[in-house]
Symmetry: D2
Subunit: 348 residues, 4 copies
């Protein structure tokens, strides 16, 4: 079966596995107090051109989001996120589990704008309501879109106006960076904190949290341990991010670029065959609208996630590519897709 299910169906890039194997018998102190973690953090600081940043490594996205957001907020403060934001929809209430409301903003494409933020702030004037204090964005978004540097500048400005923290979930940051939407130095300049996702871009597991804002840095290791997010063998995270980040993050960008290209080829192939998309996306996630009848013919050979049943005989599906997706897999998929014809009578 060929999987376009997600970008974490494989273990890790062979270079990552080899590095883990090499480091395995070295002997290292636990909990991230080792030279690999130190070097990985230094590399990230340099790439961000922000050596004052505090860098921490956690095991997964939900864990990173809940640990960071609960560390950054006081009990009565809330996060603002797009209704489609990962913390709102796909984390089983992990942020609320730490006591904080996520204010969900309906959006067309999963992207927050300064106007969204202003409206939320005006609707929360006093102590009878939560105090919105953190803006959560994901880049790429859950709909495969990017926040450009310019868009992030506008968000940061509105955050300054209202004394809000700007926090960016970079579970799929590689895709946005490889596509040129933004850069690490720009993220470090514009976000108070963000994370660089490893799990979905070639690492076995791991996310690198970059806390730029000094006021948010204190005692973060306490927060990690308190939320169950400090890995005993922290050097495993360090060595992986050494591989991903060294040489100007060459491997990280190459893997993300490959994923983007594979998705681009899928998109182009589907467009050529006449199929529409639910949203535009230049990232490694695309959302074509395909006839149910066609999808039935693909089942078993291919796997994807259903995003939305349209009720008119079509379904929005999500196709995700990764560093491990091959051109052959893409071609095999497209080979099964006929040109969309007017005559085709689809049944629901």
């Amino acid at each position: 079966m060929i999987r376009f299910t997600n970008d974490y169906s494989q273990g890790a890039h062979p270079d990552i596995l080899q590095a883990i194997t090499e480091v395995s018998m070295e002997g290292n102190f636990g909990y991230g107090c080792d030279p690999h973690t130190e070097r990985a953090a230094r590399l990230i600081g340099e790439l961000c051109q922000c050596e004052g940043a505090a860098i921490h490594f956690l095991m997964g996205g939900t864990q990173t989001n809940m640990t960071a957001i609960s560390a950054f907020l006081k009990p009565y403060q809330a996060a603002i996120a797009a209704e489609s934001g990962h913390i709102c929809t796909h984390e089983t209430g992990a942020v609320e589990g730490t006591g904080h409301k996520c204010i969900a903003v309906p959006t067309k494409d999963g992207k927050l704008t300064p106007d969204h933020i202003r409206q939320v702030m005006e609707a929360h004037p006093d102590e009878h309501m939560v105090q919105p204090k953190l803006v959560y964005v994901s880049n790429t978004t859950e709909w495969g879109g990017f926040y450009t540097t310019g868009e992030l500048e506008a968000l940061r400005q509105v955050c300054e106006d209202y004394h809000l923290w700007l926090y960016l979930d970079g579970a799929r940051l590689g895709s946005a960076l490889a596509a040129g939407a933004t850069t690490l130095p720009d993220l470090a300049r514009l976000c108070h904190a963000f994370y660089i996702g490893g799990t979905k871009n070639g690492a076995l597991f791991g996310e690198a949290l970059v806390i730029v804002e000094p006021a948010l840095q204190a005692d973060f290791r306490y927060h990690m341990k308190h939320r169950g997010g400090m890995l005993a063998k922290g050097f495993l995270l360090g060595v992986q991010f050494e591989v991903l980040m060294e040489h100007q993050m060459e491997r990280y960008l190459a893997m993300a670029d490959h994923a983007n290209q594979m998705a681009g080829r899928l998109r182009q192939g589907l467009e050529e065959r006449g199929y529409p998309f639910y949203v535009d996306s230049l990232s490694n996630q695309i959302f074509p609208i395909l006839p149910n009848a066609l999808l039935q013919t693909l089942e078993g050979d291919f796997h994807w996630e259903v995003t939305r049943k349209m009720g008119d005989g079509n379904t929005v599906i999500r196709l995700v590519t990764s560093w491990a997706t091959t051109p052959q897999e893409v071609e095999a998929f497209l080979a099964k897709i006929p040109h969309k014809t007017v005559e085709l009578h689809e049944v629901i």
Copy 2:
């Protein structure tokens, strides 16, 4: 100044104050283990025709909601509420503070329908999302509307279908009962738990939580103490609800009926003068749309809450009456309201 600000501007009905004074020097055990609390609970059980119900007395609405909802849900479970629901908007994230997401459903009038519930349930299929488990409704609603017995029957049915708890916030239940929208026996038949509000209907403070569902009754006093909601002098709650509930809750209904009538007179007067309303309401909260220029003339003599600025020179305001509102106050207000004329050019 005449206040239509809310229904808790006064202390308590004189009968309540007298009863507290009479009981003051009796000597009673603390924490609700006294004969007044016992009798008040028994009276409520009888009025509900549900003597298996567990009755507990708490001090305020937010406290009751957060204690009950956190007691009824497991950590990963969520409450479903109208976006305008009190737990979503006016409790400073108290429910989230206990670890639970409130799923906010946009509605026209603040009322949930079975279709709303079904849509939420279909959107939450698995463990990557919170598990919706409790439906929160308020009666009367935050927009002054009622859930009728028939509407509650439909909600209970959908709750049965999806194994959800139906919980009703009765901060202003008196208004709904006095208007005949529903009855205590119907509430006890249809809700798994609900509360009878005292604070907003003549008590000094206090809400009576009725837990009908046996599966939700265990150890509730532990929950109360754990959330800081067990009053040392619990007999103060007991004696107040004795006064409110005795004689077939005569005083409770009379006070609520009076509040409804005062609001009705205000509504009628404004209608006669040609002013529209933002939503229909037969309860003690009404939402007229008045010109900003007119409102300026009323300031200082009267007080109200602004609900929404329309941006066209008009404002939706909320007028609330209570057991303590006098016909003279209502007439004094209406006396200052001219007939709406076409010629009037309002400025924003």
Copy 3:
């Protein structure tokens, strides 16, 4: 039945009830935004000789402790308390319910010393453990003892050394103040925050939290609402503390002094009759050790709490007096107590 069960068996001092009755129909804004609350806060600030203090009124001790402590601590920080401290033993895990560990220190008499604090701090060196950040003391203690000004000075010094907050639970502060153990200006000078208990000294309910430390003052009303601790009719708290605090807190001290004297008479009477005490106490709580056989003869006529069964035919009981205890009640009790004789053979 004559109750020495606790100091909250009665409602409130008649002056309090009268003040509530007088204010009842005034019309006041809700949530503590009223002139009574304002005046009560001003009076307390003046009594403390600390007008920069932020004063807030809550409904009970557990609620005040959990709201204040969770407001003052970050998620990974802990409170240090005597093992017998109210937050450790009698609040059903309310502080832990907000996410914070209470580090329980075994003590002989329920009082923390600087050495206790130092030992705790040395045992908590790094991020694999909670970070102790707040010292909780109660004055009077749960064993009826006082912290003197000198003892509080020593505690404050050690708090300075380790960057800890000193928080004082004053549920029974009246007794300590009336006995001259310390003063409000000293408390305001030495504690970062403390509360002045109303519930156990003549108020219907209510505690006045004094936050002296500016760093702990921000947004406290948000915390109150978030934890369910903001009373709708906040003016009820204001008016009670006006009565208690006006005229140099004359009524407050007089009631506490009366309670101390009644306990002193009980203590003296028991001493004269030859009975020992489990701990020394000059406050309104005393802990005599009485023969079980004697206690049996008192049951039904008097009520007390059992503190500890000694297993040798004796029991430590707690006798509590209050502003409402009468000399006649004390004499009635002593009249039933024979002189302790050597011959008496007690059975377990």
Copy 4:
């Protein structure tokens, strides 16, 4: 440097690394919904002779403890643990962070007895205190001791008497199993839930939680996701536990046995040289008392953790061995240890 610091200084046993490498490119569904996880769970069920058990894989000990304990308890319920228990001392308040008190019981050797439990239960009679509901034990304990099957039977009996859950932290279960202290079928018979530690016995990371009690099994995957403990690439956990558990858990036992033997050789060597131990231990953790002057000569070449400074010129240190400790490392250490002589004057 030779490390006796802990049992997680290395990555993983080569067989584990090879298995991960082999599975890496297979393509698997995420979140533990894959055949490796399924098989690992089945193997564990068989080894436990308890196929009704629910098996879940998490990433580390603190995460497993906080997720399980918060899943098993209601908000007002507490865990009972030895004061030295990992949840009490070394998890930065993670369990309290989920809202639950840990009741710390002072013990001599880190082991709870039925009497300890009974005393705690008698001290917690009503709703003004937390309700103790779960007994936490670790096997091996933090002091290197074992609970035998007989001791666990006695604990289970007292748990039955008081309706408590018995939960066993098996971070170092391998050592206890390899030493014959107990068996998996006995654990499954006597504990309501327990976990089999991978991190400290040759896995890269991972703990296998075995929930035996049906009443505790429902919706556990929701709890995992809610607490940030569901690994995207769950198959990495599955494949590791396949290696550890297959062939009657041959590799798991062999690695633990090796660690025990290495510690035994250290213990024997130190005993022969005349040094005492702070506690007895047959596991892979030993606690010799060594002169400070001697320790100074070892620094730089060897690493250990300081457990307690005795203040008499001696220090209790912890030496930990693992599957990766070599006989050469043990001999190198012992070669530096002279026989303890009376003449040696140690300085503090």
